[in-house]
């Protein structure tokens, strides 16, 4: 889906300019810019603590930014925040379903917060329960639900107000592959219907599958931005070769590859070669060394290349 981030203001569901947030001395957002065109799905990627959830909480008014501008549906924050929130749906990272209520009551009580009349709320609740395969458990208490069912109910709840912007903060965290697949299918169906989405996730496969655009943020700033396939191709290339061997061996290989149109990254006993164009030295090396894997470059490669392979301790 082609989308132009520089398009006119009215086409953008969300515009964030120079967003800043400090918690005391700690800077979480330095200078974040986001543009989310109507109908697109933007994947917000970043290591833990990069500022993804803070950004979402700012959009919901749960965190007050230290600086910057926000416009949702062309309306300025913080003045328009209450009005705007009638048209936002949220799947939070933490399960905050109401354990005092049944499944269907969770939807109805939530609809009431959006001033949706009882009759309409009931109709929508039944529709959503059907769509998310929860219908035969409608009167069940929340405690009896599996992780996958809870996540589906969270998504159903987020849709009760027919949102123009759907915010998904790690929507499939902790799910098994089957439950995740079902969530993805539902989200893809929604995206095809034209729902604008803002997605954060640590699952690159999820982002590659759902997002039409990605922003990789680190230390509170965007460090890469664009169509997920394109930015991988532009910044890394089409393919990756992974060489295993002794550090000395790999270092000398990396030196020999200096003249090729490739990027190299040496991590312990592995050398990653991101290939922009074919190269004879590379082909030689591939046939001489025993442990070589060649595969397509993925968003995960780009993510790790940009944000580093080391564990972040904060």
């Amino acid at each position: 889906m082609p989308s132009n981030p520089q398009s006119t203001k009215t086409d953008n569901v969300l515009v964030v300019r120079n967003l800043k947030k400090n918690f005391g001395n700690r800077t979480v957002l330095k200078d974040l810019n986001i543009t989310l065109p109507k109908g697109s799905c933007l994947g917000l990627l970043g290591p833990n603590g990069a500022g993804k959830t803070t950004t979402i909480r700012i959009l919901l008014g749960l965190v007050i930014p230290s600086g910057g501008e926000i416009e949702v549906f062309g309306k300025r924050y913080p003045k328009a925040i209450k009005k705007v929130k009638y048209h936002i749906g949220v799947v939070p990272q933490m399960d905050n379903l109401d354990p005092d209520l049944t499944i269907v009551e969770n939807l109805l009580v939530y609809a009431n917060y959006f001033k949706i009349c009882k009759k309409v709320a009931k109709e929508r609740a039944e529709e959503l329960l059907e769509f998310f395969a929860l219908k035969n458990r409608r009167d069940e208490i929340i405690q009896n639900l599996s992780g996958g069912q809870r996540r589906r109910l969270l998504l159903a709840r987020a849709l009760i107000n027919r949102p123009s912007l759907l915010i998904l903060d790690e929507p499939t965290i902790g799910l098994d592959p089957q439950a995740r697949l079902l969530m993805w299918q539902r989200l893809e169906a929604l995206r095809k219907k034209g729902t604008t989405m803002l997605l954060t996730s640590h699952y690159m496969e999820e982002v590659s599958r759902l997002a039409t655009q990605v922003i990789i943020i680190d230390n509170g700033m965007a460090i890469a931005q664009g169509n997920p396939k394109q930015i991988v191709e532009e910044m890394l290339g089409m393919e990756v070769m992974e060489f295993s061997g002794s550090p000395e061996e790999l270092e000398s290989l990396a030196k020999r590859l200096k003249n090729c149109n490739v990027q190299t990254e040496l991590v312990g006993e592995k050398l990653y070669v991101y290939i922009k164009a074919g190269c004879s030295i590379l082909d030689d090396a591939a046939s001489n060394m025993s442990h070589v894997v060649k595969r397509p470059a993925t968003l995960e490669d780009l993510f790790l290349k940009l944000t580093g392979r080391k564990l972040r301790e904060r």
């Binding site: 007050i64 209450k82 009005k83 949220v90 933490m94 905050n96 109401d98 917060y113």
Partner: protein, 249 residues
């Protein structure tokens, strides 16, 4: 605000029985032990039997306990483990509406407890006058005061144990020293002024007046109403401010 109230009401309907018995048990036991037990050996007090004297105050205490309990243990559960407050704040409902909804709900629970207690007084041989109808708005505002005080505690609490301070240092002293069990008129003047300033003292005094339709002096009436309304307003404002500080970073 009413939408937050409605959510809690809906949940409450599910656990009606346990909730009512839990909140009303204590005041009734006090009524029995003190009214019928101690009352036998106590002479008339302000022209009433001891049972009559303590009954309206115990109604007021039922409101206090019920409202304060709901706004601490109940609200804190919704704030912390259940994440209900956060779920609500993701919708168009803002922090002020949330806080007011919680206070209103605590006050409603207080009023329900107080009303049931009041309605059952004839079973114990205490006959309220028609003026007792006036206790309904009074007890509701009392409920607002204690729900707001409870919510203040909730907003600063780090765990459930924190509420022990509130119970031991606020609620129990109010219960014992607000003129429910003894006449504040009999206390030494310097101490009396301090005790009269407690919001519950005004509620207890007005409850006794309304319950039996015995009005003495408009001056004290005005002062007492002002103390009650002022306490409700100030405590609610502080509760909103502190909950906002807790929930919005």
């Amino acid at each position: 605000m009413l939408r937050v109230w409605y959510r809690n009401f809906k949940v409450w309907l599910k656990h009606l029985q346990a909730s009512l018995i839990g909140n009303l048990g204590q005041p009734f036991l006090f009524l029995l032990a003190f009214g019928f037990g101690l009352g036998k050996s106590v002479p008339e007090i302000e022209g009433m039997s001891y049972l009559q004297f303590i009954a309206p105050g115990l109604v007021a205490s039922a409101v206090m306990y019920s409202a304060a309990f709901e706004a601490t243990y109940g609200s804190y559960t919704r704030l912390s483990t259940q994440g209900t407050f956060e779920a609500i704040l993701m919708t168009p409902i803002n922090i002020v509406e949330l806080a007011l909804g919680e206070i209103l709900w605590g006050a409603t629970k207080g009023l329900v407890a107080g009303f049931i207690m009041l309605a059952t007084l004839p079973l114990f041989g205490v006959e309220p006058s028609v003026w007792a109808i006036g206790m309904i708005p009074l007890l509701f505002i009392e409920g607002i005061i204690f729900a707001a005080l409870g919510l203040i505690m909730t907003a600063v609490a780090t765990n459930y144990d924190f509420f022990n301070y509130f119970t031991s240092l606020v609620i129990t002293p109010f219960f014992l020293f607000s003129g429910i069990f003894f006449s504040l008129k009999a206390v030494a003047p310097s101490l009396r002024h301090v005790l009269m300033a407690l919001p519950l003292s005004s509620v207890v005094d007005l409850s006794r007046m309304l319950c039996y339709g015995r009005f003495d002096g408009l001056a004290s009436f005005t002062i007492e109403v002002s103390i009650i309304l002022g306490s409700a307003l100030i405590s609610s404002c502080i509760a909103i401010f502190l909950l906002k500080r807790r929930m919005i970073q």
